[in-house]
Each structure stands twice: as C-alpha cells, then as structure tokens.
Symmetry: C2
C-alpha cells in the first residue's frame, strides 16, 4: 500500500509558510510530534490525526535538550527515509524535520518548567528531561499552530505534564491521548526496543507483566499501594537482576503516591534492561 | 475628546471568542499588555497599535506572580474605570481585564524562565520577577493571539527578555518597542510615580539626570564603564541618600557589563525614593 510521499520541510520559515493557507481557510490542523524511528505506536497517532484533521503534520526531531548527558541521544535511532515512507502510508501531508541549528541556533536561553508533576517518576531519574520536552513541544506548537495534537499514553507522565503546560499557558489547542500500542506478547512499542538483544527482548516483558500483576490484585480488591508496589517489584526481580528506576501506583492526575488507592490510578514503571531504559504504564479505575 | 467605550472582557473564553472573527478574516490584531493605571506612556503604545492594527486589545491585569513577597502588589494602583475611559479615547476595541482566578485558577505549575538576560539589573533585585512576566505574557499571547504586541522601552530589561522568549519559543508575533515617554522635566512616566510626595517627585528626577550625565560623558569620548558608572552614581548621591539597586552601563543586547563600551550601550538604573522603586534607562550608540 504505497502512499503519497509527504512534503518534507526542513526550516521553521517554510513550515509556517506551508501552514498559512490552512490557517486562513479554517482547516483543522493536526500535529503528531515524534522523535522519528516510527513504529506502530506512532502509526496509531498518525491514523487518528488523519481521521480527525484536514491536514496532518508529523514532526521528526530528536530533541537534544530532553536527553541527559549520559543518556542515549547519540545512539537514538535515526531513519528519516523510512519514517517518510511510513508517514506516506498513513496519509501524512507534511513532515517537519528541522536541524538542531534551526531549532536552537540563536543561543536559546528560554525553558518552560512544569513544577510538581515533574518531581517524581521519570522526573527523578531524568533531571531536566521534562523542561526539554515542554520547551521543544511549545516551540513546535508555535511553529505549526495545530488545532489538535496527538501523544501516546505510553509516555504517561509526558502527557500529564504537557496537558498541564497547555492549560497553564492557555495554549489554543487540544491534546489527544492515544492508547499504548503493544507487540503481540504485550511489550509496549518503543523506538528503544530496537536496542534489545533477542534475550533482552524476552526479559523486557517483565515490566508489562509486573504492571498486569499490579492491576490484577487491584481488581481483586487490594487497595494498599505499598502491597501492590511490592507485588509488581517481585515480578521484575523474578525475571532478572534489572535496575528498577521506579515501579509504583500513583494518582493518575497528580502523579503523587497515595497509600489507599482511589479514583483513577496510574501503575507506572521504568526499568533498565542492560543499557536500555524502558517505560510502561497502565491506568486502573479503583472503585 | 470622548471616545467610544471599548468592550470590557473578563474571561479567557470570551476573549478567545471575540478574536475569532478577526483571526478568520486575516485582520491584524494588536495587543498592548498593561497592569493598568494608564498614563501617557501607555497611551503612546495604544496610539501606535491603533495606527498599525485592524483591532486593538489592551490587557489590564496586575499580575501577582511578577511581584515579590515584599513588593507593592497590594498597593499597586487599580483604576479600571479611568483606564477604560483612556482606552476609549485611544480607540481601543477591547479591554481584557481578567480576575486572578481566571488567570491562575487551575493550580498552575508552569513557569517560563529566560536564563542569562534575567541574571543582572532588575533580575538581581527582583528574584522570580521575569519568570512571572514571561509566563503571564505568554498566556496573554496565547489567549489573544496578536500579530503585533507593544511594550515600552522604559522597561528595557523586560523587552529584551520578552524578545528572547519570543525568539526562543518561536511565538508567531512581532514585539514593537516604543520610546519612553517623559514628564516635562524628564522623569520617565510610571504608574509608580503616583506614590511620590511632592518633595520625592522632585528628588526622583536624579535618576534621569544621572543617566543623562552618563550619556554626556560617553558623547564626550569616555568609554570606560567604571568611570561612567561612578559619574552616574555621584549624581544620585548628590541628590539625596537614595538606595541605588543598580546604575550602570551594559551591553544593550546581552545586558552584561563591559569595561570598554562599544556598540549600543544601555545606561540603566533602579533607585528607591522612600518606599518607591523607580527605573529608567537610555540607549547610547558608542562609535
């Protein structure tokens, strides 16, 4: 099913220019921000955008400011030709793939910081990560000026933080959160899965298994988070000596821990399989 | 010269709604953000906006997040009826005067921080001030979505910081900086001048006199900033025992000090006359 190749745009000025007629005629513009290495998870975002918008823009940009100094910025997969093909198959109209000099050329000094929501979970282990995410996403919002923008529930803390930013800064758009897409055995799709060896790929499933075990005991009526967290941790420990950054039940809105679970709970985890850091999460309604 | 009274808007939703037809038909929207207590300085911004835009919005909002805990937020002058009259005389179409609950009701956690440019001058003496300014101005930009926005050179560091923010975040608008408007004797117009007693009002002129003295010696060929700073400081000291937060020659672009002046220099000062903090500045081209 070969699609029409999307228009590849490399500069901010050209991106703005391309959007002008759509903004002028009231078209509904959809933006799917990505770091490329597109997989079925991204494809689900693109499909949703295609079904809801008159014009669909995918950005492909590995944003340096959201990587820590010892993280995987340099080895993060880059495959623009494949990504363009994928975008073409999903009916994307424009792919915005700027260079670093284009995005941060003028000696940037500005950061957007969301406070409380970034203090826990990935925020603890990736200092500055969400400042980098918020800032680059705000830039993309200002460049493309979408009406709708699409993110995956896989990055649960990211969507919570970005929704907070959009509300707090009155950004005139709507964030659409799409369900996590998984491999046949349940592993959450991630560009970083490509780093896993065959053996590690099997081991990696322990994260999703742990989250499911947590969900199961909640469904059985256990609402004490310390117990649920211990059960989830045991599942990972049984699979191998993997470092767990965090694996816990938190309030889905505030991302804060609560001893007795109530309302919508986020079971969220980040573990390291070798040098690869994987995250996953499940939402559970506690009644 | 009575003008048509502008439309007073109190909520973000109504402000967005009011702008929709103008955005749809390609009108040029101008925004003049103010904290109210409008004087001839603000009027000059409104006139400029009126001459360049199809629709002119003035915001009147005393933003709490840009005041420190011991600053003059509570006593800052508030006079919306007079401001509406003034806006009417200047042909303003809409006055956006939201309540605090409207602007910060949802438990805001987001701040926009511009780094280097905020480290000196007022940034040293008003920690967090420019974070508050940047954040509220970004909110106003997102609510009104102006094509042009107008600020006074009187707040030299503010305009430098906001220009940096707009460039760094790719905000799709242009900042227009308008000259400082002065009283007959040269005192820069400021809403805070209303706090001065008759005696203090006379003393306050020492700030502008000091800046002029600095400019004069630069014009005479002296380019060593330490000498110029000393001359300016002497003018203030001769006028009375006023606390000087800062009074110095800096690079107009970076706001950093430089021993040998070159290029465009900003002579900037902040002094305290009794409980009232006044700022002023002059731009000087050093050839």
């Amino acid at each position: 099913m070969p699609g029409k190749q999307p228009v590849l745009i490399r500069t901010i000025a050209e991106m703005r220019q391309a959007m002008k007629p759509y903004k002028a005629n009231g078209s509904r513009v959809g933006l799917v921000p990505t770091m490329g290495a597109l997989h079925a998870g991204h494809a689900s975002l693109l499909k949703r955008a295609r079904s809801e918008c008159n014009v669909v823009v995918a950005s492909v940009y590995v944003n340096p400011t959201q990587f820590g100094p010892n993280e995987d910025f340099n080895k993060y997969p880059r495959q623009l030709p494949l990504d363009l093909d994928r975008c073409g198959r999903e009916g994307v109209d424009y792919v915005f793939a700027p260079a670093d000099a284009e995005m941060y050329g003028g000696g940037t000094q500005t950061l957007i910081h969301v406070a409380k929501l970034t203090e826990r979970l990935c925020g603890t282990f990736r200092p500055g990560h969400f400042d980098g995410v918020c800032t680059v996403v705000a830039k993309l919002f200002n460049i493309v000026q979408p009406d709708l923008t699409y993110f995956g529930q896989k990055d649960a803390q990211q969507v919570t933080v970005l929704k907070r930013m959009v509300a707090d800064l009155n950004v005139p758009l709507q964030i659409v959160v799409c369900p996590t897409i998984r491999e046949g055995d349940g592993l959450a799709m991630s560009s970083r899965n490509a780093f896993l060896s065959v053996e590690q790929r099997k081991q990696a499933l322990c994260l999703y298994n742990a989250l499911q075990a947590g969900r199961n005991v909640i469904v059985q009526g256990i609402k004490t988070s310390s117990r649920i967290n211990a059960i989830m941790r045991d599942v990972v420990l049984a699979a191998g000596p993997f470092a767990t950054d965090y694996l816990e039940a938190v309030d889905a809105q505030t991302l804060q821990p609560m001893e007795e679970l109530a309302g919508t709970v986020l079971l969220a985890g980040a573990i390291r399989i070798g040098a690869t850091r994987l995250i996953d999460n499940l939402l559970v309604d506690v009644t």
